[in-house]
Amino acid sequence: MGLLSDPNRRKALTNLLTRLNTPICIVCYLAAIMWFMGLAFEPFTLRTYMSENAMGSTMVEERFPSGERALSTAKEFDAHKRKAGGMPVEWLVKTMQARGLEVFTQSFSRTLPFPDENKERYMVRGTNVYGILRAPRAPRTEALVISAPCSPGNSNNQAVGLLLTLAQYFRSQVYWAKDIIFLVNEHDLIGMQAWLEGYHHTNITGIEYSPLQGRAGSIQAALSLELSSDVITSLDLVLEGLNGQLPNLDLANLFYAFCQKLGVLCTIQGKLQRNDWDTAEGYTHAAQTLMLMVLKQASGHAWGDHGLFLRYHIEAASIQGINSFRHYKTDVTTIGRLLEGMIRKLNNLLERLHQSYFFYLLPSLSRFVSIGYYMPAFGLLAVILLLRALDLWVHLGTPALAEVDGVREVEQQWTTGPNLRAICFLVSLESSSPGVLSVLTPVVISHLTGVALYLLPVQLQEMAVEHFPVSETEAVVLTAVAIYTAGLALPHNAQWLLSGEGTEQGWRVLKLTSLLYLAVLLGCTALINFSLGFILAITLVPIAACITPHMPRALSALAVVLLSPGFVILYCVFIYQELIESPVSISEGWILFLSVISQGILDHVLYRSLVYPLLALFIYPCWLMFWNILFWK
């Protein structure tokens, strides 16, 4: 406490921090980037290990024999799907009943706010079919879910076939202590959302669904299966869920352990693990995997059907079969065994998965970076904001001294720094109350623009379609882009609204407010979704730290715009395409960028993803506040 109460030491510390402010900030920024890049370096990461006792020490033997039958069921399913022109509900019900499950259906319908051009759907109507295998060994209080989506075209037939065959095989086993739900959901995430809401008696997204007729116990874990070919070369594990939530790391460990045991190639983010971490290629590979995970997590999108389970505190992951040109192939029987093993281990759970990490990043399947290792990278960036705020606070006090009579200057020699600054700050606030108003106006106007950006695109689509030759989706996205751009004109309007001109104090107070606001915002974001927080911090912090009205206008305006949240999304699109090895040209990238925006809005409306409201209502206004400072008169 000496530091907080001893005026001399405090003064020394404050002096040091203000004098060395800029160098410290630069060092922090570079250190943050280095730290983050270091996370992919193998010696700095930890090897994954199974934490859960109930899954780690118990042995299971996989015996699933009927891969061939799964493939023939898949063909049958395919035929019926073609005949029904969608989900073959009756056939599925009959087949599941024949396999001894309790079968129920749920119908749902949902009208999207505007047509989804990626998946070509607008008015969605569908049916989920699920069968429950009741646990013979225990009261029906807990359940596991295996799901497979019924997708249009040829895809995912094998997944449904395998699901049904697994059901038949599981039915003949006696060791189940948890109910197992076999779910075939239509319209991927929308169907999954309807089923989950029906299962948990909630309605948060306004989807219409019929209530579930049968349910099992509380769901402990879920696996979602996507399989579109008879043989595969590798299995890919997808973990990123809605809002960047991740399942417990033990689920990934479980998958990895079984892949090792059965000799199946396993990937994450579609990237195989490499063993040469000490070479440049090895490191680049790990860094690319890590970056892909960060980008996917930051998008807040559910990257597989499992993504919606996480909100209900259910650990879930998607397993996707990938068939590439490699020679080494894995057949369906092995995949069935892998699933059998995983489900049996999950069946042994005594409580929900909770032992291992929930906050992690994976540079490869066998290595992980936990929250304690990656948070400092963000912390270093947040410290910059606080240091700049402190610096401003100190500066806000000092010039006021000169204005007041000489007595105060004498005081400065003996009074501790910030006390005095506190009064001076308040004195300056009180003496120039229009100053407070001039600070409040940009804040309010920025936030109103944010509200417009949040509400108007969807509200105005009809009007836009009437007046311009665009489709609804384009109308929504282009309105959003237009409002975003219109926000840039604001400083002039804000100045026009103000009676007097802004003072030197004014922009400092505004900057102080914005810095603290940004720090709180990014801190909260990084806690919920580290990747999003980090990406925003790495782009917004330099603006926030350097901006003053006295910089060369045109140049710095360009820099500020290029680092604005909208452009960050654009960069992310390009980087993502680069990382998944399908680089795009500028025009393709622009089209992708527009579809990403429409996806973001749809994610918010359909599944209540928080990324779009966060960006529109908070981050963008906060950025506008900095934009305002640049144009302060």
């Binding site: 907080l4 005026p7 906050f359 606070w393 501790t416 910030p418 006390n419 506190a422």
Partner: protein
């Protein structure tokens, strides 16, 4: 002034009315930061229904708005009275040349003091904490109103009313008992009775006030007994407050500690924690016996930090007093740090709660860490004000520019 106060009241009431009618009201009333098991409106309604009183007389948002309004007006009037007292005292001291010359700039001007009561009312009514608490229909607003009226009665010098309202506040939540000391000190000071244990007039007035207070407590308890027909309410209210059986997380320090505690240490630590709340009364009363109103502020703050089921409504009550000490700003040392801490914590409470309870990815340690930080922030804030107050008083008697014995400039250090 009255016009601006009315305007303020209207603004505050309309904010609350809007929030009451929005869908936020339900969310807010479930927040653990805002309601505790002691003051949740849900439980009041349950209690009344159990009593078979039919529809509760207060079953509307209007009641809570009125409670907040009363608190604000009472605080406004109290601070006005207090400022008048301070100014009068300052004038006498100035006339009798008691202040050293160089400390004259520390004196308070009527111009600066004019808007303080309004600012106090504003700090209470427009504080987001109060608004949340009111919208959640937490009975904390009612407790605050009673304490505010108690302060008003005390400052107006009415010993009887002061005793009655203190008794009401005490029977509601025990802790306001510690406000007895400052109230007594203030009333003594008002009647020019010195605090001297050998003087009969001191003992006479003290026993008088004790009698009024204890009498009211007995009457209120008796009334409760006749209303309920049994003594059950004593263990279920006071036992509940003192033995802390409900460990629902809140912004206080008790829940985590006692959830982690081995059962056989529980009694001991409950005693320690509860004595902690009351203990500060003695040293603070001795140190601040000349400044009972500041003592009231300190006591309210300490109660709201250390009580067993604190909510943000309690925090709002003592924060309302901060404008009254605005002349201390020049001596505050950590106000920037503390306000940052409080701001960040307020934002992180709901985030970590979400991660713990809904997402299931964080756990109670995260939430408790923020609780701890929030309370450390509050303690720093209060001790900073305490230090600043003492320091100003010191400068008022010893001059602003202190010299060491060898003639160099001296600094005051609190260690």
């Amino acid at each position: 002034m009255a016009a601006s106060l009315t305007f303020l009241l209207i603004v505050a009431v309309s904010i609350r009315a809007v929030l009451f009618r929005s869908s936020l009201a339900e969310i807010i009333s479930e927040r653990v930061e805002v309601v505790s098991p002691l003051n949740a409106w849900k439980r009041v309604v349950e209690g009344l229904a159990l009593l078979d009183l039919g529809v509760s007389p207060y079953s509307g948002d209007v009641f809570h708005e009125i409670a907040d309004g009363i608190t604000a007006v009472a605080l406004y009037l109290s601070i006005q009275t207090y400022n008048k007292n301070v100014f009068r005292k300052q004038k006498y001291a100035l006339e009798s040349d008691r202040y050293p010359l160089d400390s004259h700039e520390l004196l308070r001007s009527p111009k600066e003091m004019f808007y303080i009561p309004l600012k106090v009312a504003m700090f209470y009514l427009l504080n987001p904490f109060t608004i949340l608490s009111c919208v959640a229909k937490s009975t904390c607003g009612l407790n605050n109103a009673i304490i505010a009226v108690f302060i008003l009665c005390t400052l107006k010098g009415s010993a009887l009313l002061s005793g009655i309202f203190l008794a009401l506040a005490t029977t509601q939540s025990i802790y306001p008992l510690t406000l007895f000391a400052p109230a007594l000190l203030f009333l003594l000071q008002r009647l020019y009775i010195p605090v001297n244990l050998w003087r009969s007039s001191f003992w006479f007035f003290t026993s008088q006030y004790v009698f009024m207070y204890v009498g009211s407590v007995v009457v209120i308890t008796g009334l409760s007994f006749f209303l309920l027909g049994s003594w059950d309410f004593i263990p279920s209210v006071y036992g509940f407050i003192l033995s802390v059986p409900d460990l629902t997380p809140n912004i206080g320090l008790f829940w985590y500690f006692f959830a982690e505690m081995f059962e056989h240490f529980r009694v001991f630590f409950i005693c320690v924690f509860q004595i902690n709340v009351f203990f500060y009364t003695i040293p603070l009363s001795i140190k601040l016996k000349e400044h009972p109103v500041f003592l009231i502020f300190m006591q309210i703050a300490i109660i709201s930090i250390f009580k067993s089921y604190p909510t943000v409504g309690d925090v709002a009550l003592y924060m309302a007093f901060l404008p009254a000490w605005s002349h201390l700003y020049r001596f505050l040392r950590n106000i920037f740090l503390v306000s940052c801490v409080l701001l960040v914590c307020s934002a992180l409470f709901p985030v970590l709660w979400h991660l713990w309870i809904y997402a299931g990815s964080a756990n109670s340690n995260f939430y408790y860490a923020i609780t701890l930080l929030f309370n450390v922030g509050q303690i720093l804030l209060v001790s900073d004000y305490f230090y600043a107050y003492l320091r100003r008083e010191h400068h008022l008697t010893h001059g602003l520019y202190l010299k060491k014995k060898d003639g160099t400039e001296a600094t005051l250090v609190l260690k």
